[in-house]
């Protein structure tokens, strides 16, 4: 079990740390970094399903018999791009939020909003 599955568990540990960063930090940029870490670990999980022991990259060449599976790689390519799109959108939002609130800390922004609300 350990010998055949430890890679998954390492990936899972990475995922957990990514998720922990997203959830625990109040800074918007840190959240996005955490999201990237989390997603990168998920991508690793995908790719690990395609790997064949002793295989190589699925670029067909003479003399090579064993290839790893190309499909997970394709899926991950798409997913990476989706993740990047999310990150850049999140960053754009972060820039706007900093403009409006003068901070990127979620807690501070919420406090600012609440105090404005009670003042008004």
């Amino acid at each position: 079990m350990i010998a055949t599955h430890y890679i998954y568990w390492l990936i899972i540990v990475l995922m957990m740390s990514g998720l922990y960063i997203v959830l625990s930090h109040g800074h918007l940029l840190k959240k996005l970094i955490g999201l990237n870490v989390f997603q990168a670990a998920v991508f690793l999980l995908y790719v690990s399903f395609g790997k064949v022991a002793g295989g190589t990259a699925p670029i067909v060449a003479p003399g090579i018999e064993t290839y790893s599976h190309p499909l997970p790689a394709v899926l991950v390519l798409t997913a990476i791009v989706v993740g990047m799109a999310t990150t850049s959108l999140g960053l754009a939002l972060a820039v706007r939020i900093f403009r409006e609130y003068g901070t990127l800390e979620e807690d501070e922004a919420i406090v600012a909003e609440a105090s404005e609300h009670t003042a008004a």
Partner: protein, 489 residues
């Protein structure tokens, strides 16, 4: 005709880059209108085609497990029509509303994002491939993050960012779920998955896969307690966007849940071996009661409606969680009816926002008399939320209670009814403030925009029509439920 399934998605999707190239706001709007109109035509034709059986469309010409396919069956054809219809109505509604709320130079890009949002939803609904569903779900999500952030107040940005984080975590959970299912079967095609999965029932990886898919979609559909993003996001979004999203945004995730739970994993796993049904019922009860209760205490009309949406998702999930033909039919029916009703309410809120500059409940005091049409619309749609005859809400509540009683879920029936009572309270609050307070002397900001009021009323009348003569939506919902009847338990 053979290309209808792909045209359904392609028309709005290709409309987006075209919109982005335009510089005239009216030109972009016209394009958006045409695109949604085209989508509706496709959807209606597809619904009509359903009489001859399901339609499969192999994209790229590669047969199913190798390539991606679109599968249109009675389960998703009505959803396509619903999304297209609401989108078309929103398109007509959007012109004055967007011109009032969005900077002129951004309008073409705004409509491009709207196109993408619609295209993404249609793509999720039409696809027969698990991973493709994820991709299109993300198109919808990304565009809606941006659209929500276009709201007038700065809180819109925070709401959009929160939605972005939560939504992405949800999407990643879905991704993990798909990965695990892939790992134990080696395929992504839904039909192929459905065929291979029963061999590995009991596999713990598959159990985890179900859990991740369900949790991921629960986030996207804002099921209690993963709903935190919804009220802010819907309330702060520009009127046209909140109308579209409140109408069909979460419904797409609900549909995806249905699709994954029943046709991919199979009801015997999800609702039989795993306790998803009971968990769904508990979450639904909590959503119905708690979210309705919270809605009663809101100070802002759009937040109130947002919380009400969380509650209404509870109704839908309650029906689906029963995993009986009647339950699914009831949930599906409520999906249709609530889409129309809630879109009407957000549309009316948009009219108010445009004319008053605020939808704070206190700002509505006494306006029922000065804006009779808008408030009558709110009242009628509000009755739909409560579920009183003769609105559409009554029909679905009837069907839902019936399905629940049939299964002896008295506790859930109690929650449904309790939630309706809370709906009486929050709708009653609006009515009381609008009609039983002294109207202010201040003049209104703008004259009413005819397309906005007209579309609001169109939605209200649809909700009334579906209430008086629910034959069409009921037939569609029954068709959908019957289509998955073989895979329930």
């Amino acid at each position: 005709m053979t290309h209808l399934p792909v045209l359904q998605v392609l028309i709005p999707l290709m409309g987006a880059p075209a919109c982005a190239l335009l510089r005239q706001r009216r030109a972009a709007w016209t394009l958006f209108l045409l695109v949604t109109g085209g989508a509706l035509v496709c959807a209606v034709l597809l619904v009509l085609r359903m009489e001859q059986g399901s339609v499969r469309y192999a994209l790229g010409g590669w047969p199913a497990p190798r390539g991606i396919e679109y599968v249109i069956d009675p389960l998703n054809a009505p959803m396509l029509a619903l999304v297209s219809l609401i989108a078309l109505i929103v398109a007509v509604y959007a012109r004055p509303s967007v011109e009032a709320e969005i900077e002129t130079r951004r309008i073409p890009l705004f409509y491009a994002c709207m196109c993408l949002c619609v295209a993404g939803m249609l793509g999720v609904i039409a696809t027969g491939d698990a991973f493709n569903a994820f991709v299109f779900l993300e198109i919808t999500s990304l565009s809606s993050y941006a659209l929500i952030a276009m709201g007038k107040r700065r809180r819109a940005l925070l709401a959009a960012f929160r939605y972005l984080i939560v939504g992405t975590i949800g999407a990643t959970f879905l991704l993990i779920g798909i990965a695990l299912a892939y790992a134990v079967t080696g395929t992504l095609n839904m039909a192929d998955l459905a065929q291979r999965l029963p061999d590995v029932y009991g596999n713990r990886a598959l159990t985890a896969a179900v859990a991740f898919v369900v949790v991921g979609l629960a986030v996207k559909m804002a099921l209690f307690p993963l709903h935190s993003w919804l009220p802010g996001a819907y309330a702060e979004a520009p009127s046209a966007v909140s109308t579209l999203l409140a109408g069909v945004g979460t419904k797409v995730a609900v549909y995806a849940f249905l699709r994954f739970a029943l046709t991919v994993f199979g009801g015997s796993l999800v609702f039989g071996l795993l306790p998803v049904g009971s968990i769904g019922l508990v979450a639904a009860c909590a959503a119905m009661v708690l979210a309705s209760a919270i809605a009663c205490f809101q100070r802002d009309l759009k937040y109130l409606l947002g919380w009400s949406s969380v509650a209404q998702i509870g109704y839908i999930v309650a029906g689906l969680s029963l995993a009986t033909v009647d339950g699914i039919s009831a949930g599906y029916l409520h999906m249709i009816n609530h889409a129309v009703t809630k879109a009407a309410l957000f549309a009316a809120a948009g009219v108010l926002l445009m004319r008053l500059g605020s939808v704070d409940l206190q700002a509505l005091a006494g306006l029922g008399r000065r804006m009779p049409w808008t408030f009558a619309a709110i009242l009628l749609a509000g009755l739909g939320l409560i579920g009183l005859p003769p609105t559409a809400g009554f029909v679905s509540k009837w069907a839902l209670v019936l399905a629940l009683v049939e299964q002896g879920q008295w506790f859930v029936v109690g929650a449904v009814l309790g939630s309706s009572l809370l709906a009486v309270v929050y709708v009653g609050r609006i009515v009381e403030i609008a009609w039983f307070r002294e109207p202010p002397e201040t003049p209104l900001l703008r004259p009413p925009a005819v397309p906005m009021v007209a579309m609001t009323w169109l939605l209200v009348l649809m909700s009334l029509y579906f209430g008086l003569s629910p034959v069409l939506p009921a037939a569609l919902a029954d068709g959908a439920a019957v289509a998955v009847a073989g895979r329930l338990r």
